[in-house]
Symmetry: D3
Subunit: 247 residues, 6 copies
């Protein structure tokens, strides 16, 4: 069983960390194909970055589907481009954000999310409302650390995340923690042990759920919003496209 | 990996069907221990039956936990006694109702449930509201067939379920169907093929999710509502208990 | 008019306190029959305790219905077994939790609940969501005192409850307080006077509502979820049931 | 115990019918004072009529409070002026709409409302949302009959209401019916018998709840939205007020 | 284009301030007719004051409609009598509360409201729930200043409002502020500049929206709840009405 | 005042129709700059098409902002790329979907949407939930006509839309209709006249609201989710990007 895990940003070290987390949970049950787009932002922090990451990510998903992937995982906590990807391919697609919320809902009455920067809070809250799981989320917290600082062992990132988990236990009555960034994948086990409650990493959660969907033989419905788009001409090309547009 | 699947009613033929569905999805990845309580109603249709099924079911779960089960599946679509079971043991516990809702939410924008009798509709709706997934459910439908009639190949059960799926596609804009009874586990594949949309059986869904939780190393939170109950004396015994009480 | 008030736990001193609160509000308008099961936990703190309390409680409700009770009150703030009891008998059944929420909603825009232990918070929140009255509840607070400590005049229970009411006024903008445990029945009047807002005891509220339903001639609907369960065989007996199962 | 029931419109025959329904449920437990304003519309069908009915109704409530009423019932299904009345007096005030929703919620999982004209549907839906009980209401239906036609025994009103109850059972899965007009108070018992489910009349429900609040010693909270308005000058007078303003 | 702005209270200095804010946003695009009732409370702080303000306000709206007004703005943040006004006239009617919520929703993910006194908080929260925009409002805050104190330059009103905006930024993650009183109309620009986020004054917002509706040719729907009330007799007159009734 | 209206698809005839609707409502109050991207799909029907339309659309918005546009209107009913655009520029950005919902909410208690194809229904429902206005929408209906068929006068599009409006009046109790496609802009006035209720075209609504925001001096909040994205490198380019990727 081949599971494709796509990191929608262009930072290879994050892809490697994500692949490692994915392979750890897959064990011998699935082969992991980890990719990233050739073009796009080096990290995704908000809606604007998402807009330029999605075309390159969809390219990887279409290629992997053609190469035999049985399921796809989108390894950005915003679930970047999840709906478009579901229209694009027949195999199931799982976002690491939604995966983490579903897993947390199976082991806790309510959970809090700890993400990187405040700019991501509204995106995450929007997704929770849409998925119907906002009622299960006590609070979305930001640790105040940029995504790429998580790649730097000298940063204070881990301590800040730990402090937010403390606050979630004390103030939110959270029963579980969801880590709100693919770059936190390597921290979950330690944090769970230190704080004494489930700490969910979305990458691992999504790979586990994607493998389950393949075993179940369940694929994305093609009734309704995920029906393939009607075939149509596309004008122009991206060749002359200044990337990204100057702001 | 040992996964315990408990049928909370006392009808062995249903246990066998459930075990078969569980083993089909587990394949080589997990061993299935299928049990049922010694005492209790032969089927569960509403809150009253649940009340007399739960003590016997908890007994099986405690025994299986002691025997090394790494996860438990409660194979009644009402998710009978799910909260009590989560307090009772450390391993994760998954209800087949909730499992089916989560899986359907991963492959469809919205789904309809097709259950057996109208008396079960409010129980299911209550669970959906509580889990936060009511927004994803277009409608809960009853096919008008008792649970045990599903065991009788001569009954019209399958045709009635198929008719409700037709109605869900036409009237509810459902993108997926959740089968609302453990006794329908053997019908999912055929119905999916006939109607052209995902048809989710809760037993298979729960076994897949339970296996995923074990691989993730995630267990039920003991912070909050699932903390073990404080130790306390229990008065009397069930020995003199007329069972069930005469109504 | 005979109103049956059942304490679902097996602590007789709580039954006596509950009976006293019930008779105070019934005055000359109703006769109170106060009972408790012979078997089960000495207090109910969470879902697990509930599972073992319900069969014995249903026995008392069926007996009282046969003895002419016109209404039943379940005197545990979790509304333990309320749905099963409504299926079991024709007379109306009122839980003290729901009664308190309804009464508070008639005299205040929003209320906070003050209960005993944190383990009860999720149960109460679940009920509020289900009843549709979560929007009226500002917050569920735990005073951090076990149920039976309320029986001990030397405990600091009353002071801790008072402190939580202060906090609810200051931080929740609560306009009324619901006391979240049957064992607090004797504190309501004093706390209302001290804090200057309505303080609702569920036992009194439920007896008042139950009496009202009888005067109205309104009984539980037998359409839908509270229809009597279809008659069916019950396997085994509770005679050999280790009680409670060893955890 | 004196309970004041105010009919906010100026049709005396409706006041008499309301008083009769109120006295039937009060029995020997309370004395009923039934009033109506001197001025205002002969019936209330929508927001505009409400605006001119409230000042006269508040006058009656202030007078009755001064005369010793222990509770007030507003006998219009729109719960006309309920919030203003709660600010005006110390005794509890119950609207017949809210009373009916609360009573129906105690004996049924969900209910449908059958009112008079479609213009009232949005008012009722607004109240249900606000009270938090919209989740318990399956649907608000209009029988298509003006309020005052209910006073005419020759009208087809009763048959039309019965037809809507049939439809609510069949299409809404309603488990109870709330009659959405004070003028239907005399129909509830017959309709309940004919259709085999609880049919709630708001007048009786409100009198029962008001009596219960008095017995409980619970009065409207003066914390928050029902605090008495700050004293202030009022300019002008209504003496020169063309009534109603020409449209 | 004539836009009618009615101040529902009887304080002329507030009418003047409102007219000034309205004319500033209308510029050359609309003529502003600013009115106030002859009778009623000098300020509106809660439901009780509203009850006596609405009849006089409706009189002004009916007069202005007859005089050619193409739209009406109700310049009280509680949206006093908005529904009744919509039934009364054909031209569109906009409340300054709803206008501010809609405008804030167009430029911010979520907003907080800063109003005058705590007694107004429940009224505002009620409106937000009803309009469906409660999900966009982080919190309703009261600065603890009476409406008319805003007319006094020596009061500490401005500083207290500024302190609440600080708190909304820090604690509510508010992205915009809605000023919750018509009497704050002159403060919006300064506060926006000082705090660095959009600060919405409802009077300006409502005039802008009302002008837009006129340009769009869109008027209040007469299907459903805003259909004109059926013609009917009105009994009595307000001539003998003690105003306001002695409390 | 320069208002930029961008048609996110590449069909010039739709841009012309949109520009015409925009200029009709702007009248002399604003100059309209109508644009479309050079590249992307010829129509947007679902999430997949959106993904390839957004980069080109953002380019136009950044150019127009630099050219002095005071506000931007995104003329696709899905509100394609609205959040990204709000991060990109300082001037306010209004989607025609959200604009239509807000305008309908000002003149009707509830509305129904009539869009083109069923594949768009989930996108629209998602937006309504997110904006908080789902409670105001009775139903989203699809007329079963592709977007570009609206450009063909010989198609049956208008008749099908009219039939859906009939159904919305009869079955949804809709009080207003929102036309769910920019390509329907020229039909609103006729349909309103024929069916006797407000029919809202999003293009006109958005231009009216955008003009209002400019007059109010209100711009997108830069606190929270619409803060400009942190500056960062973008890898690769779109030059070698096969467009669209072969499915």
């Amino acid at each position: 069983m081949l599971i494709h895990v796509v990191n929608p940003n262009t930072t290879r070290s994050m892809t490697d960390k994500i692949a490692s987390a994915a392979r750890a949970v897959a064990g011998g049950t699935a082969e992991i194909l980890a990719t990233q787009p050739d073009m796009g932002p080096v990290s995704i922090e908000g809606y604007y970055d998402e807009a330029y990451a999605i075309p390159g990510m969809l390219q990887r998903i279409l290629e992997a589907e053609a190469a035999g992937a049985r399921a796809h995982v989108i390894a950005c906590f915003d679930d970047t481009g999840l709906d478009a990807a579901r229209q694009a391919v027949a195999s199931p697609v799982v976002g690491i954000g939604e995966a983490a919320y579903h897993v947390a809902s199976l082991v806790a009455g309510r959970f809090s999310v700890v993400t990187t920067l405040p700019v991501s809070i509204p995106v995450i809250e929007h997704n929770l409302v849409r998925y119907g799981l906002a009622a299960r989320c006590a609070r979305v917290r930001a640790a105040g650390i940029p995504v790429l600082a998580l790649e730097d062992p000298a940063s204070a990132g881990r301590a800040r995340i730990s402090a937010e988990i403390e606050a979630a236990l004390r103030d939110d009555h959270a029963e579980a923690i969801v880590l709100g960034c693919a770059g936190m994948a390597d921290l979950a086990a330690d944090l769970a042990a230190r704080h004494g409650l489930p700490v969910i990493d979305g990458v691992a959660a999504a790979v586990a759920l994607a493998g389950g969907l393949v075993r179940l033989g369940v694929r994305t419905s093609k009734q309704g919003g995920y029906a393939p788009p009607p075939p149509k001409p596309y004008a122009g090309s991206f060749a002359a496209f200044a990337f990204p547009p100057a702001r």
